[in-house]
């Protein structure tokens, strides 16, 4: 009976939601806040990528909150999984996989950092790059060729990266601005790597933090996964 009710309500929900969305003007957004952001992105943050400008400039607090959520998830994950003895390893990976891992590791590092540091110019940024970095460190665990990243180091990195993000924000406060205000925006030319003031620094912090959090979480889970097989 509850299942039947659920299905019934679900059908109603999907139908109503769909009919509600049909009244929304697709393709013709009001652009009330958006147009202003587009107009001011370069002047306000120095970033060619307006999405990055929004992420780190206009809505930097969201990004800080999001980092905090990742940190919270990692902390909670650590709390849940706790100190666990590493479980038995899975079946060893084949030679190709192991060789591929060794080959891929430096490449992924480079790509990851590249994406992190060019976030203000091109699609990409700290999140995307951070995920690639995390994957780079996690690959050896998957392939069975390494024990994964060092937890103590990860905690230092994630703690410091988050702090650096806030400190850059507070630096603006201390120099007479407001919290999270982009600094040194007028240094460097548009479309150059060294431009957009503190944005690349923020992205670096974001990238490191995201990478550290995800790597930590994955490593935790990997150990847990082996434990009870």
């Amino acid at each position: 009976m509850p299942r039947f009710a659920t299905v019934l309500f679900l059908a109603g929900f999907a139908f109503l939601l769909f009919s509600l969305t049909l009244t929304l003007g697709f393709g013709e957004p009001p652009m009330r806040a958006g147009q202003g952001v587009l107009d001011q992105a370069v002047a306000g943050t120095g970033a060619a990528n307006a999405v990055s400008a929004v992420l780190l400039g206009f809505r930097g607090l969201d990004t800080l909150g999001e980092l905090s959520i990742l940190f919270a998830a990692a902390t909670a994950g650590g709390l849940v999984l706790g100190h666990r003895r590493p479980g038995g390893d899975g079946p060893p990976a084949g030679a190709i996989l192991q060789a591929g891992t060794r080959l891929l590791f430096p490449l992924m590092l480079v790509v990851g950092f590249y994406i992190v540091l060019h976030g203000h110019l091109t699609p990409g940024g700290g999140f995307q790059g951070g995920v690639i970095l995390a994957a780079a460190f996690f690959l050896p665990v998957l392939a069975g060729t390494g024990a994964g990243p060092d937890h103590a180091l990860l905690r230092v990195v994630e703690g410091l990266a988050g702090t650096v993000f806030i400190l850059i924000g507070l630096a603006a406060l201390w120099t007479g601005g407001v919290f999270l205000e982009p600094l040194l925006v007028d240094r460097g030319a548009l479309h150059e790597l060294f431009s957009a003031g503190t944005l690349p620094l923020l992205y670096l912090a974001v990238g490191l933090k995201v990478g550290a959090e995800l790597a930590g979480l994955l490593a935790h889970m990997a150990r847990a996964g082996g434990g009870e097989a």
Binding site: F18, A50, V51, L55
Partner: protein, 153 residues
Amino acid sequence: MDAYIGPLLFLGAAGLLAIGVVGMLLSNHLFRMVLALVIAEAGVNLMLVLAGYRWDAVAPILQPGVAAQPMVDPIPQALVLTAIVIGVGVQALALTLVIRIREAYGTLDMAEVRARMEVDVAAAGGGEATGSRERPAGGRPLPGPGALPEPPR
């Protein structure tokens, strides 16, 4: 064609959301519930990103040497990026919990997990487990062999 693309995309968003909710509510398998959550989030993220779409506009990135063109609204894109990362965090945490539950109870079946949780919580509270809609408290004495009159032949 243009007239249909909007409703089609909305159908996709609403459909993904609905599929996700179906999975979360009707599946009894913890891991599938997490996957369903991923799908539901994808649906709502799609809906969010649709909010910024403009006909005949380009991505909101200035290209060197390209004349200014109408651009799509960059804010929903940033929001979606944030929402995705938030989702990842929540999903990862959910998975760690699933791992632990599997270890503790040896099952991924929601009904069984819930029943055993009830018992544990009640025990921690110092009482016995209380009844619920699925499992009423107390014994239900089934009529024994002689309890019911024989049906007439």
